[in-house]
């Protein structure tokens, strides 16, 4: 069996971040709205219980908000980004490596930790995150990312797991898979789920037992890989699944520490181009770009530095060069001399269908950029060269996003730090 992988996922992440600094939000329904205050993208358990759906447009739930006194917040990405840095820092000592999947989900490589009771180890990791940040989490453990994700969902849904589900255990895995609706399996789209239902495949367990060839016929190569991962065979399925609408990340550890900005920029440029490719492949555009990089947290004798910067993309884009330009600005702003950077990445959030994206007045309508993109994609391997790309191309700041109910910059602005009564 392959090395154990865990997925640690923050519960109702944005709401939990708001609650960290405002105790009056505990125990009451809370929702956080998307960019421009359009729809609910995070809901507390109490709000879910009131039937507020993920992505519910705010103008359709105004009555509910008023009648139940639901507390409503604009998204405060500066806060969520800062809290994420803290969450990751708390996770790091517990893992050999990690891979940020979205702002609130991180895959953790437990290779080398197998001799431990991994459930206890995961509980400790979760407790550390809770202690340092107040953010509650759930953990799923499995031999593949798909099973870790399923384990996470099970841990979240079923209190019997007390926050940690280990699907390496056959009995637990079968128990969970037999109860897990196939349409909720990560990467199974609605159309595929319909076809599977016609074949009598209703649970993740049924899907696991489906012949792989048949799987490829019904779905795509993604479904075939999912079947493999449900059987415990890693098949790189994360890389092929359509990114979730809340975001995706491209990250990598460096073989040796990077201490000059050009090399770092080269790597981040490659991630930006890769992220753009992935968006285009799925017909999506992104509204926010975050870059991050940090030193090796396990080498405490070396100077430590963790940086991240988030920029909003206006217009929303899947253009690798535009993403690169944002990434460049982020890296330039966050760079500090004198540190050996061992990991870097780019994260895209606020994803939506390219066809539905809000148009802006000054959008470049010509096909030139598309052709350029294709050419750039071809030389993707030679990423060092991307550093020569000018950072000023094609994005114009039109107007600020609406965010009328945003909480303070509790952890990012000295004038807005929380007050304590003495």
């Amino acid at each position: 069996m392959s090395a154990p992988i865990a997925l640690i996922d923050c519960n109702n992440y944005y709401v939990s971040c708001e609650r960290a600094f405002d105790a009056s939000l505990v125990g009451v329904p809370v929702i956080v709205l998307s960019n421009n205050d359009g729809c609910a993208i995070a809901r507390s358990a109490e709000a879910k219980a009131l039937g507020i759906r993920m992505g519910a447009p705010v103008h359709l739930i105004r009555d509910k908000i008023r009648d139940h006194g639901i507390r409503v917040f604009s998204s405060n990405y500066a806060l969520y980004g800062d809290m994420q840095r803290r969450v990751i820092a708390a996770i790091e000592p517990f893992a050999r490596d990690f891979e940020i999947y979205s702002i609130d989900e991180t895959f953790v490589d437990f290779a080398g930790f197998e001799h431990l009771d991994l459930v206890a180890h995961a509980r400790e990791m979760s407790a550390q995150v809770r202690q340092w940040t107040t953010i509650p989490t759930c953990v799923g453990i499995g031999p593949t990312k798909t099973l870790a994700k399923l384990g996470n969902a099970a841990a979240k849904k079923n209190p019997i797991f007390e926050g940690v589900a280990d699907l390496r255990d056959d009995a637990t895995r079968n128990w969970v898979l037999d109860r897990f609706p196939v349409e909720d399996v990560w990467g199974v789209g609605r159309a595929t789920a319909g076809k599977l239902a016609a074949l009598g495949i209703h649970t993740a367990g049924h899907l696991r037992d489906m012949a792989m060839k048949q799987g490829r016929g019904v779905g795509t190569v993604v479904l075939e890989r999912l079947i493999a991962e449900l059987r415990g065979v890693p098949a790189n399925v994360v890389e092929t699944i359509e990114p979730q609408r809340k975001g995706m990340a491209v990250t990598r550890s460096f073989g040796s520490p990077v201490s000059d900005i050009e090399t770092l920029m080269g790597a981040v440029a490659q991630y930006a181009m890769r992220a753009g490719e992935k968006l285009r492949q799925h017909g999506l555009v992104a509204g926010r770009v975050t870059i991050f990089f940090h030193t090796n947290p396990h080498k405490l004798d070396r100077p430590q530095y963790t940086a991240s910067r988030t920029l909003s993309a206006q217009p929303m884009t899947s253009d690798g060069l535009a993403l690169l330009a944002y990434a460049r600005r982020g890296v330039e702003s966050a760079w500090r001399e004198g540190y050996g950077i061992t990991k870097a990445g780019i994260m895209l959030e606020d994803l939506m269908d390219a066809d539905h994206r809000p148009r802006t007045l000054f959008e470049d309508g010509s096909g030139r950029r598309g052709r350029l993109m294709a050419a750039m994609d071809e030389v993707n391997g030679r990423f060092g060269k991307f550093t020569a790309v000018p950072a000023t191309q094609g994005f114009k700041r039109a107007w600020g996003a609406r965010s009328e109910m945003r909480s303070p910059g509790y952890t990012t602005r000295i004038a807005e730090v929380p007050c304590v009564r003495a």
Binding site: W132, T133, I414, V417, P418, V420, R421, A422
Partner: protein, 137 residues
């Protein structure tokens, strides 16, 4: 209101760069410059678990903390009696000294006229004050 405030003097090594430079020719020895002192790094040992908060009120002036001060609150340090802590009392953030008296924990002010608060199920110790920052001008 003026009060005597205890000041902890910490020894900080101030690196001096004394390199004689021949005019017009940079010395290679100067290349290995040290970073300037970063007060935040010194104040905040555990950035991932530390939060900056602003003090409102005068109940801790006896401990040298007054209205308008910025404090560093760490959640990586376990609160023990004697620590100055940020606690949630019925959900409200308050700054007090944690004390043990006759087997019970109390939140105690360090100024006259503030009642002691017993630590019960309505009180949650949120973090420990590990540092203080103040500007005078």
């Amino acid at each position: 209101m003026l009060e005597t405030v205890p000041v902890h003097v910490a020894a900080i090594e101030l690196p001096m760069l004394l390199v004689s430079t021949p005019a017009g020719f940079p010395s290679p020895a100067q290349d290995d410059m040290e970073e300037p002192i970063n007060l935040a790094d010194w104040l905040i040992e555990h950035p991932a678990a530390s939060f900056i908060m602003r003090v409102e009120g005068y109940s801790m002036t006896g401990a040298g903390i007054t209205d308008g001060d910025l404090i560093i609150v760490s959640r990586a340090v376990k609160a023990r009696p004697g620590h100055i802590v940020v606690a949630l009392v019925h959900g409200d953030r308050t700054l007090k000294r944690l004390r043990r008296r006759e087997g019970r924990l109390w939140l105690v002010a360090e100024a006259d006229g503030y009642p002691d608060i017993i630590v019960d199920e309505h009180v949650e110790t949120w973090g420990v004050v590990v540092g203080l920052a103040r500007k005078y001008v």
